[in-house]
Assembly symmetry: C2
Homo-oligomer: 290 residues x 2
């Protein structure tokens, strides 16, 4: 076990486990939460079963705690028998100048990319952390996890992360969904701010833009992608999310699954929105995982 | 409308409304949340329907926000068509000496009683606020609320509040339930600390102790009372909750309903516990309200 377990909390018949570990990719200590559905732990009368895994990538300012407390994914993960991994959103405490100055850049805002610019490139490698290091550590530590059945979802900046990671590695993930994703970061203020500081050329930027990635998709995955956006979401209205650009690009691409964009009347950008439609997203992933 | 509406947030097909008002009982400004299930607001094609009301009283240190964000009562309130009122747990900002010194006394710890001792008695009258002032203001402002169908529940200190208020006014409430209630405060450290500062004689104390109140119950309500306690709850193990005393007293009393105490294996005192069994509690109340 490469993790320290700091808490284990009963939730919907399963267990929410709080973990901490040293990340070699990020060069700092990282916390995360993992929800194990009922039956995940061996008892005197049962051996350990094997469960599919769903990553939930959180948005700006969040840690792995917010959605574990307020997202309401756990009842449906318990119902479908799915493990949920809630990672953090950036390296922490790296003492980089400017790291704590903005709520939408630096700490809490890693944007799920590998930075190439000084001073960020030493630590800000959330892409490799989520795609490579964390899965290896988890699958080596928890026999309950089935590495052949893995999906990914996220919210806002984490919706961007989920779409990008899925499209770049669609052989590794069975399905993808997102709440309020930053769908075309090269064209919105949040993305321009982050990418211009973390990354170099526009060619680098396009490697982390879901709308660009789906245009040139040449993988084999045919799963539908489910996206929910609230019509009362002020960031949607302010053109930070741009999901229509992603849908338009998908229609001209070789991606064979449907991109199902649902506009949910009056909902905002908060966990009140996520919790209200969490059942639909877990059902979406269960179609491909269970 | 005696309230200022500070926010209206879509949640599970209904609306969570954030309200603020001046309380004459508490002599300060108070915030609360009210969840309105789907169909609570008139549209061009429909008039306003009438819904039953469930009060949720929160525990030590909480405001009306915690359970609205983390308790997950709303999906089941939406399903059964029940309005939920989430009041605050004490007066706020009264500038009483000592008010902010403890997490289990003063601010965030009003114990749902009417204080009789100086300096608390001017403001700390949460009992009258919850039983009299707040319902009158709400029912005068929201035609969706049906004052003839009202129930009450709570958590920890709020479980104490719900049991006490129900037993003293069982003609006003159709049903009662509690998570992890402080069930016999005269016999536990939290209760002794609070009652000795807020109240005078032991006779006064017994008016706010559910175990004492059920002993002498002489009302007509025959509803079952549902109580959930987690066996991993450190406050339960530390004898702060004492639900067995309440059950024992109920068996010797004239209370005609069953007191259903359920010990939930491994659960703690947190909102992870409440959310896991929220569906059962809403179903309990729906039996009497809908």
């Amino acid at each position: 076990m490469k993790f320290d377990q700091t808490a284990k909390i009963a939730s919907f018949g399963g267990q929410l486990v709080k973990l901490s570990h040293e990340s070699s990719t990020l060069k700092c200590k990282m916390d995360l939460n993992v929800y194990f559905p009922p039956g995940s732990f061996a008892t005197a009368s049962s051996s350990i079963a094997s469960f599919p895994i769903l990553y939930f990538l959180s948005g700006l300012t969040c840690t792995g705690n917010n959605c574990a407390e307020k997202g309401f994914l756990q009842p449906w993960a318990a119902k479908h028998g799915i493990i949920i991994v809630y990672p953090d959103t950036s390296p922490r405490g790296c003492n980089i100048e400017g790291e704590e100055e903005s709520w939408d850049f630096g700490t809490g805002a890693g944007f799920y990319l590998n930075a190439t610019k000084v001073p960020w490139k030493t630590n800000y490698n959330m892409y490799d952390y989520i795609v490579e290091e964390l899965p290896q550590l988890l699958y080596g530590s928890f026999k309950q996890m089935d590495p052949t059945r893995v999906s990914i979802m996220g919210h806002s900046m984490g919706g961007h992360g989920a779409l990008v990671i899925y499209l770049k590695n669609s052989e590794k993930y069975k399905s993808c969904s997102a709440f309020s994703p930053i769908s075309n970061p090269m064209q919105c203020p949040w993305g321009k701010k982050a990418f211009s500081s973390y990354l170099g050329s526009v060619n680098e930027w396009s490697q982390y833009d879901a709308t660009e990635l789906i245009k040139y998709y040449n993988g084999e995955n045919t799963s539908d992608i489910l996206i929910d956006i609230g019509t009362g979401d002020s960031f949607y209205k302010d053109q930070q999310l741009l999901p229509e650009n992603f849908v338009a690009a998908s229609k001209k691409s070789k991606y064979k699954g449907d991109v199902k964009l649902r506009l949910q009347d009056d909902y905002d950008h908060s966990y009140y929105f996520i919790s209200s439609f969490a059942a639909d997203h877990l059902e979406h992933h269960a179609r491909y995982l269970v």
